[in-house]
């Protein structure tokens, strides 16, 4: 068996798990383990939890996100949403194996923006290679890490389609997704989540992605997934243009039943997304799990209260939208916050998203069909910035670990809320600019070559029939 150094941690911090690994620490990092040492480095509980988490995140996309979005469009476009999400998931899985994993999770050498192609087509990855976690001398089988991260690459581009739902050309969309994954998502994942790992950073203290190096905290994908997809969606909604008839013609959701089912599947799947992002099954996993639960409860209640005050009626769509906003907001903070600060975050995020969905969209006049920007981007920004606050040990947060020493150091007294919030803001602005500008260039090229939009007749007829030749419902 060969031990291939794999450099694939996910963001910094996090380390109650260090205690669990303590017995193995005395001898120092195990860099060339023999079979006996390896048996102590991989935990069956971790492996089982991470494989279940991977399946849970897949469930978020299909059917969760597909039904959540699908219920919100008109009957004539239901099937197109289901098909777009299903196809994006399938295509993203292929792209991930071919070059995505390598670009995201191999070292870029002195280049902090993207990794190399040494693991393209999963070259050199097999049943005997390992991926780092956040604990010294604790590893995952590399395939487990590959498939877990694959599910993130599947759902992120699928999130985008909600912004220009009901008016995009299918073939162009799929080409866009492949290009967007390659030049936006994989580099973002590399910049935020790639680092040498707790046993290797000591020897390679600059081997990390750009934002990880800044010290930006993103537990499960506030910047990489939600801000990234949200701003790409907004740019797409503006460049593709408004739906025919928007905003004069009523475009009410065709099935809030489907939307509620989808949102609930998202909530359940999100435990794999957030708690799974700890890469181990330990105390911090429990922290991320309970934070994900309670922030979502708070945000759902908060959105309902806002509606009750503003309209006199609390709506189901409002409650489930609030829940999704809460899930988005807690994503970057899941493993850093404490339950009560997570609840505060949930209560705050809903009114802010509500302002964007109910007022800003109408005032500015963009047609973000399913509020990808208003919920995912804005919720992601709130969560990313708030992570700098709720991670503070003085507020019960988990703080940040120093992986430049072995074993990793923990200095809660050194945590600066102001300093961390400033880093978080820089990470948010960077993501908005990188993804916003990069996506605009991709949309422009595809619009000029393939065309992004079906013709007016096809759009009026509905994308189900005009793009796919079938209907969602035949009564």
């Amino acid at each position: 068996m060969t031990f291939s150094k794999k450099f694939c941690g996910v963001m910094g911090a996090v380390g109650l798990s260090l205690l669990a690994a303590a017995p193995a620490l005395a001898a120092g990092p195990i860099k060339a383990p023999d079979a006996a040492a390896m048996a102590t480095m991989v935990n069956k509980g971790d492996v089982a939890w991470m494989l279940i988490s991977s399946a849970l995140v897949l469930m978020m996309s299909i059917p969760g996100l597909a039904l959540f979005y699908g219920g919100l469009v008109r009957t004539k476009n239901m099937l197109s949403i289901l098909m777009q999400v299903f196809t994006i998931v399938s295509v993203a899985g292929l792209v991930w194996c071919c070059w995505g994993y390598s670009i995201a999770f191999t070292s870029g050498g002195t280049n902090p923006f993207f990794g190399g192609l040494s693991k393209a087509f999963l070259m050199g990855v097999d049943g005997t290679t390992w991926a780092a976690t956040f604990s010294n001398n604790v590893y995952l089988p590399e395939f487990v890490f590959v498939v877990f991260q694959m599910t993130f690459a599947m759902i992120t581009p699928a999130l985008i389609v909600g912004a220009f739902a009901e008016r995009v050309k299918f073939s162009s969309l799929i080409v866009f997704v492949v290009a967007w994954l390659t030049v936006i998502y994989f580099p973002m994942a590399h910049m935020v989540w790639y680092w040498a790992g707790p046993d290797f950073l000591v020897d390679a203290p600059t081997d990390y992605g750009l934002l990880w190096g800044w010290g930006a905290l993103d537990f499960a994908g506030g910047t990489v997934v939600h801000i990234n997809a949200g701003i790409a969606g907004l740019v797409g909604a503006i460049m593709i243009g408004k739906r025919v008839g928007f905003p004069k013609e009523p475009m009410p959701p065709h099935s809030l039943t489907m939307t509620m089912i989808g949102a609930s599947l998202l909530w359940v799947g999100w435990f794999g997304f957030n708690a799974g992002s700890n890469l181990e099954a330990n105390a911090v996993t429990g922290v991320a799990f309970i934070n994900t639960m309670v922030a979502t409860c708070a945000a759902a209640v908060s959105w309902s209260l806002v509606e009750q005050v503003h309209h006199g009626k609390a709506s189901l769509l409002g409650a489930v939208t609030g829940a999704v906003a809460g899930l988005v907001a807690i994503t970057p903070a899941a493993g850093f916050a404490a339950p009560m600060t997570s609840i505060a975050l949930g209560f705050i995020v809903s009114p802010i998203c509500y302002i964007f969905v109910a007022f800003v969209k109408g005032k500015v006049g963009y047609d973000d069909s399913l509020d990808v920007f208003g919920v995912h981007c804005i919720g992601g920004i709130v969560g990313a910035i708030a992570t700098g606050i709720v991670a503070a040990p003085s507020l019960g947060g988990q703080g940040v670990f120093d992986y430049t020493v072995f074993p990793a150091g923990f200095h809660p007294e050194a945590y600066s809320i102001a300093g961390q919030v400033w880093i978080q803001i820089k990470a948010v602005v960077f993501t908005l600019l990188f993804s916003g500008i990069g996506s605009a260039i991709l949309y422009f090229i595809i619009d000029k070559t393939m065309g992004l939009r079906p013709n007016v007749e096809a759009e009026m007829e509905g994308l189900d029939l005009s793009s796919h030749g079938e209907r969602a419902y035949n009564y």
């Binding site: 905003p247 009410p252 503003h310 709506s315 409002g318 969905v357 109910a358």
Partner: protein, 112 residues
Amino acid sequence: MKLVMAIIKPFKLDDVREALSSLGIAGMTVSEVKGFGRQKGQTEIYRGAEYSTNMVPKIKIEVVCDDDLAPRVVEATQQAANSGAIGDGKIFVLDVGQAVRIRTGETGETAL
């Protein structure tokens, strides 16, 4: 023969059916319809976007009966469907030229 056509509030359907059954009416046709009258439409709000629907859902009942029974059908329907609020609906009575029972070919009132 008369066709009694009534547009009523959906939740009044069972009351009307019971009232007409007790008169000996053996069959009716019911459709879900939409329309507007003096009753205002409804306002729906989705994530802050307000849509006013100016068509209100109603139930349309069609009953064919002999001429003598028609006034009592109208009266029973009017009383059973009445909630006292606007939007209770309307009743129309039309003459029917012919009726045929498809299975047997019987015509006229015996086909009812």
